[in-house]
Amino acid sequence: MIPVLEMRQVKKYYRMGDETVHALDGVDLAVAEGDFIAIVGPSGSGKSTLMHLLGFLDQPTEGTLHFEGKEVSQISSNERAKIRSEKIGFVFQSFNLLPRLTVQQNVLLPHYYHKKRDPGAAERAEKALATVGMSDRALHRPGQLSGGQRQRVAIARALTNNPSLILADEPTGNLDSSTAHSILDLFTELNQQGRTIILVTHDAQVAGRMRRQIHVADGKIIRDQTR
């Protein structure tokens, strides 16, 4: 089976003044369909950079990147936007909901940036809200919701376009432990439904709930284990 996403000898350098920072220094990684991955590492390890590459927010300096079998190492920013729009669902630590939009409108937001009209979008948004258990709050605004509820809405937003890959960046970082637990339960449930999920965290306990753990340090994968 073709992996959803495959990295070979991927390197990412940044220039900071006169110095070159090797944020990623030769990463090999294959994400299979249905994977449930935690990327773990201390800050400065390169896990954020890895996450940006996995989410097509950035592109590698060297190495190759394949997405659903296609070579996508050096593509234009519009092509990356298209992949993000159609194939990737993002969940952030600080939820990033737009306060002036209703829950429903927030969930539909990715659809606005689709180039083609999609008559099924509203229905899928409804379904996504049902999946995260927020159907009854569709007309509320984010300000009227608790942190856990907001993150559920953000997850629903990530689900609307039926992505191949869900990327979550410290999704429980701003939540208390019981709420965090229920959010992780939700991710587990989504994974059991067949979703491919990658979660970035520095919290070993959170990482422990994922099936596969990838440890990053100094721009390299130092351990990749599957339970």
Partner: protein
């Protein structure tokens, strides 16, 4: 993302920051409103000027005036007879492209009927006068060539004269009135000319005249045969130069070579009119546009602030699939909506302001007229300036790196 959704988002964003949006569109609003009002005043003046040119004969009118003899002819001064009715008859007979010739002899006099006097201008005229001065009878008839030939004692009255000397509901036609002591029969009543500018009738001068045949005037009231006014109406503007030359030839002949006249056309008047109007219009529009420009700068400023305030939001939109051009259009649409709302409010306020000013200045000849083209220019420029004002912030926003934008606190 389609344009309508961008505009919808723009409007939501503007509505979210009502006060801030209102303040920054205020200068666009003032710019457009001032443009509409200033151009309204200018239009008011020029529409009246234009109308008065038309009502007094229009652009096709040629006026013949008395003039001093040139130096080399000045010793013949005692031979000069000035402009006469015979000149008019010769011109009518000999010149081409002539619509009407209007020789007039006028004097101040008193018209009396029913023991009520009216002090005004008595004009000895030919039928041509009613053409050059654009006057029609409402009842009865005008002065005819036959009246002139037979030196008849008939009179055509302006509406103000009728009102002054006849009781309401009476029929002046056929009645005898006294002009400077001589009896005349009323044969025609002129239309009442009204061009109201508030309470001020700019055509009222047309209603104040008493017209009698020019020959009768010469007989009864004047020892001299000299004309007081002498106008010619040409058929069309293209033949003015030729007609001026022909009229000059005839007059040189009838005046036996004496150059004691000068011929004036209104071509220069019209050129002056157009030049002055263009000058005023462009000044008015320039003032409005400068204010609008200031408004545009205000909108640029607001949008820049708004972009840096919404870094995370823009980052998010990019992360979930917005392209650079989506963001560009979104910010541009917002700036344009903001400016267009200001423009539309300005047009609305301008229209109301002109109506209020028309009521307030009802007795003045300076009351404004609503210019639809000023409204259109104001609104279109508010749109254009909105787009221009939005370009820089939109470029800034579209260039944001989603990673940096998401990290921004």
């Amino acid at each position: 993302m389609n344009l309508f959704i961008s505009i919808w988002h723009g409007l939501r964003q503007i509505w979210t920051h009502k006060l801030r949006s209102l303040l920054s569109l205020l200068s666009v609003f003032l710019g457009v409103a001032s443009l509409v009002v200033i151009v309204g005043f200018i239009s008011g003046l020029f529409v009246k000027w234009e109308r008065s040119i038309y009502e007094s004969g229009g652009i096709e009118k040629i006026t013949i005036e008395d003039d001093y003899l040139p130096k080399q002819q000045s010793h013949l001064k005692s031979l000069s007879n000035g402009r006469t009715f015979e000149d008019a008859q010769a011109i009518r007979k000999l010149c081409h492209h002539i619509e009407a010739v209007s020789p007039e002899i006028g004097l101040d006099g008193t018209v009396i009927a029913n023991a009520k006097p009216f002090q005004g201008r008595i004009q000895g005229v030919t039928p041509g006068t009613f053409i050059t001065s654009r006057m029609e009878v409402i009842r009865g008839r005008l002065i005819t060539d036959k009246d002139i030939k037979q030196h008849k004692s008939v009179v055509v009255l302006g509406s103000n004269v009728v009102k002054a000397i006849f009781p309401p509901n009476s029929d002046p036609l056929g009645k005898t009135i006294s002009i400077n002591g001589d009896p005349f029969t009323v044969v025609g009543l002129l239309k009442n000319y009204v061009q109201m500018n508030g309470d001020f009738n700019i055509l009222d001068w047309k209603n104040k005249f008493t017209y009698i045949p020019i020959s009768t005037m010469e007989d009864r009231f004047r020892s001299s045969r000299k004309l007081t006014w002498f106008d010619i109406q040409v058929e069309n503007i293209a033949s003015i130069d030729q007609t001026v030359q022909e009229v000059s030839n005839v007059l040189i002949h009838t005046h036996r070579g004496l150059k004691d006249f000068r011929i004036e056309t209104r071509v220069d008047d019209i050129a002056l009119f157009n030049k002055t109007k263009a000058g005023f219009d462009s000044t008015g529009i320039a003032i409005g546009l400068v204010t609008l420009l200031i408004g545009g700068v205000g909108i640029t400023n607001l949008m820049l602030a708004s972009v840096s305030e919404r870094m995370r939001e823009i980052g998010l939109c990019k992360a979930i699939g917005a392209t650079d051009s989506d963001i560009f259009i979104q910010i541009l649409a917002e700036a344009t909506c903001l400016s267009a709302i200001g423009g539309a409010m300005g047009v609305g306020f301008g229209i109301i302001a002109i109506q209020v000013l028309q009521l307030a200045l009802v007795k003045s000849e300076y009351s404004p007229i609503l210019s639809m083209s000023a409204c259109a220019i104001g609104f279109v420029f508010s749109l254009i300036f909105g787009v221009v004002a939005g370009v820089y912030p939109a470029i800034q926003a579209s260039r944001l790196n989603p990673i940096d934008a998401l990290r921004y606190e």
